[in-house]
């Protein structure tokens, strides 16, 4: 009898297959979205629901199980709020409201819960986002590991960024160093000293708000490389658009500490999650200008790392030019990469 494995929840191939066979294929097409909007017909970072004046409601939901719950750079609360904010932002939406569900294990220290909620409220306040509802439940000791948080982010967009719009000629921009969150959590789970690492978890509002104002139709696709990292995100884009995505490895921004820890832990840093980095596919002609703009917003490590190309033989693939100039395929991660990363 086949059973659920951790790989099914790792956000890689197994998760995609499970969602397709277990959920997507069992919902009638007409019920996969609201009329005129976007839903699980083309799974993206958020769903779209049309509202008045050609605008859209942008809605995204996510649950957070990260272990450990406190880590350098943040905690499960900050992660839960930032995660849903970013999912709305990368869809071209401006977040206005949030709902949360918190499930706690019996015996969980009250002061820890307070710390977690403090960091949730702190981000919401700084971002000017209303907390409009939620749920709170307690499970008997041993029936859940400490705490699980789920958040639903709601935003409004005039010009949603839908990943389906990616085209040959687009260039790929990364807003900062990759894999910081994934490397931090993984190192902690292995009991390693993480002095040199810190999660990058943060809201990407400072990037998207000005970007959407100045480059409305230039940004063709956007995403945040959480579970499965850059590799998962680019593979999704390549497959859904039927294009080849070509990446120059020497251009990918990675910190020395992430390089070192990934080598030590035997993982590809391109498979590791970021929680405060955006990947953009932009009009080729405007790419340099967008890069300059993004860097001036304080994203100093931003870089153009690759191109979207039309190629009959290699369509749907992500091909990477290595640091010595050779070529390999950047496969989406499979199996259980890092358990409970977010």
């Amino acid at each position: 009898m086949s059973k659920i494995t951790l790989a099914h929840g790792a956000g890689g191939k197994e998760t995609a297959n499970l969602l397709e066979s277990m959920i997507f294929s069992r919902v009638e097409n007409r019920l996969k979205k609201v009329k005129g909007g976007l839903g699980i017909d083309h799974p993206d970072d958020s769903a779209l629901i049309p509202i008045e004046d050609g605008k859209f409601l942008v809605v995204s939901t996510d649950s957070y199980t990260v272990s450990p719950i406190f880590f350098p750079g943040g905690d499960i609360g900050k992660l839960a709020i930032c995660g849903s904010i970013n999912d709305v932002l990368v869809m071209g939406g401006l977040p206005i409201a949030m709902l949360d569900t918190i499930v706690v294990e019996e015996g969980f220290p009250m002061d820890m819960l307070k710390r977690i909620i403090d960091s949730m409220v702190e981000i919401l306040t700084a971002e000017n986002i209303a907390l409009i509802g939620g749920d709170f439940k307690v499970m008997p000791r041993g029936h859940i590991d400490k705490i699980v948080i789920s958040t639903t982010g709601i935003g409004v967009s005039e010009n949603p960024i839908v990943d389906l719009n990616i085209q040959p000629g687009n260039r790929i921009i990364v807003s900062g160093c990759l894999g910081e969150h994934g490397a931090t959590i993984m190192a902690l789970q292995h009991g390693l000293n993480v002095d040199m690492l810190q999660s990058d978890v943060k809201p990407l509002t400072g990037l998207f708000k000005p970007l959407m104002k100045h480059f409305t139709n230039v940004v063709k696709a956007a995403g945040d490389p959480t579970r499965g990292g850059l590799s998962m995100l680019l593979n999704n884009w390549a497959k859904s658009s039927g294009n080849l995505i070509y990446v120059d490895e020497s251009k990918i921004p990675l910190s020395d500490s992430v390089r070192k820890y990934s080598e030590m832990l035997g993982v590809d840093p391109l498979h590791l999650a970021s929680e405060g980095v955006a990947i953009l596919a932009v009009d080729g002609e405007a790419a340099e200008e967008v890069l300059e703009f993004v860097r001036n917003l304080g994203f100093d490590d931003a870089a153009i790392i690759g191109d979207v190309k039309k190629d009959e033989s290699f369509q749907g693939l992500v091909i990477i030019r290595s640091e010595i100039g050779g070529l390999r395929v950047l496969e989406p991660p499979a199996g259980e990469i890092v358990p409970r990363i977010c």
Partner: protein, 417 residues
């Protein structure tokens, strides 16, 4: 260019003896920048490789092919991960030979380990062998991962030291599934000699030796009248222990050049270049590209320790059968640490040996470099890294797994610039 190469060598020689941690850190960065993040250097070596191949083609004609074999999973990983094949002319074929110790660990050893895990003997294993399948189920399970899920006493460790640490608080019997080549053997032998192994830990030795397998693979290609191998890319870490000598002997015996290579992409490119030069000159013998680690005599202390604890015996390899003088077994003097003796485990002989390959799976041929992963009908069709069938897909050092994870099955030369 040659100057640059020599200069880099010279500066490294002067760099190497210093070993304070700051210098070591700088040295590591220096090596990485020189041998890994160095597209200019790679371009230059690539140009020279093409130049030498052109010369060979001029001599032997347009259809000239030259075939080099590596004997280390990490070499194959570097080759595929850095796209080295895509930089080479069509005339050069790089073949992965037997270089994955997990892939060649016979089924009967895993069967023993599974059985013992259900008899409340704790089985320590590295993650790579955790899912290594047996050819037939033992108590309804086919690997140690399933054994653990069904209540077997199995512990995955990252290092041998982790197992020793765990034994501080575990007093019952345990075995360590010792899989590996020459590189790992001293790690067991030295603590054993120094009485650092607790009395309740026994070794289940699956230790194998690389040069005999290299010879076997190259001879097997000859026997099957397949295009012969023209040069050996010898494993750097194995050679750090054994020294260059065994490869020199093998090279002379087989009449083909060998170069001991490091593991950065530039190491491999430089080794290929060196092999081409030797082929052009008709030179045999061994050269050491991986000078920063490998010496002629190897690590004498480690070799002595191996000799004290282990005996070189004819050993079975998965799917292949017995190879002369290719394995390490614990000597009688240390039989208190030998799982075979302690638990009276059966050991196959040449006569009782049963083929332990999966029917239809080409892992054996892939291990020996006689077939490519793409020659197997299951490759990426029912056998992939998430659901591996054969050992070459199970182990991260296996050729099939490496090809599947980094697209080694595609000819990316066509993509060009």
């Amino acid at each position: 260019m040659a100057d640059f190469y020599i200069k880099s060598r010279l500066s490294m020689e002067t760099f190497k003896p210093l070993s304070s941690s700051v210098v070591q850190k700088e040295f590591n960065m220096y090596i990485e920048n020189l041998y890994r993040r160095n597209r200019r250097f790679a371009e230059e070596v690539k140009r020279l490789i093409h130049k030498y191949v052109d010369r060979l083609v001029k001599i032997h004609g347009r259809d000239y092919k030259v075939k080099f074999m590596n004997f280390c999973g990490t070499h194959e990983w570097t080759t595929v991960h850095y796209g080295i094949r895509s930089l080479l002319p069509e005339n050069i074929e790089l073949v992965a030979g037997p270089g994955c110790p997990v892939c060649v660990t016979p089924s009967f050893l895993i069967e023993h380990a599974i059985k013992l895990s259900f008899e409340d003997v704790r089985v320590y294993t590295f993650g790579d062998a955790f899912k290594l399948p047996t050819v037939k189920p033992v108590k309804g399970v086919r690997n140690l991962a399933e054994a653990k899920a069904s209540g077997g006493n199995v512990a995955v460790v990252y290092s041998f030291l982790d197992a020793l640490k765990d034994l501080y608080s575990y007093a019952k019997e345990s075995i360590f599934l010792a899989i590996g080549f020459e590189t790992t053997a001293p790690g067991y032998a030295i603590p054993l000699i120094n009485h650092l192994i607790p009395k309740n830990m026994y070794f289940l030795s699956a230790l194998r030796l690389t040069p005999p397998a290299a010879e076997y693979a190259i001879m097997e290609a000859k026997k099957r009248s397949m295009p012969s191998i023209d040069g050996i890319i010898a494993p750097g870490h194995v050679s750090a222990i054994t020294g260059a000598k065994p490869w020199d002997e093998l090279s002379r015996k087989l009449g083909m050049p060998a170069v001991i290579s490091g593991f950065e992409p530039l190491d491999i490119l430089l080794s290929i270049l060196e092999l081409l030069k030797m082929v052009l000159k008709g030179e045999v013998g061994v050269k050491i590209e991986y000078r920063r680690v490998v010496s002629w005599n190897g690590n004498v202390e480690s070799l002595n320790a191996i000799n004290i604890v282990f005996e070189v015996v004819d050993s079975p390899w998965r799917g292949i059968g017995f190879i002369d003088k290719s394995g390490l077994e614990i000597k009688n003097a240390y039989s208190n640490y030998d799982s075979f003796k302690i638990f009276s485990l059966n050991k196959p002989t040449r006569v009782s040996w049963h083929d332990d390959s999966f029917s239809g799976c080409k892992c054996t041929e892939v291990v020996l470099g006689l077939a490519k992963p793409t020659d197997c009908r299951f490759f990426l069709k029912g056998c992939n890294p998430s659901k591996p069938l054969g050992p070459c897909m199970v182990s991260s050092e296996g050729t099939c797994s490496i090809w599947a994870r980094f697209g080694g099955y595609l000819n990316l030369k066509k993509l060009g610039d």
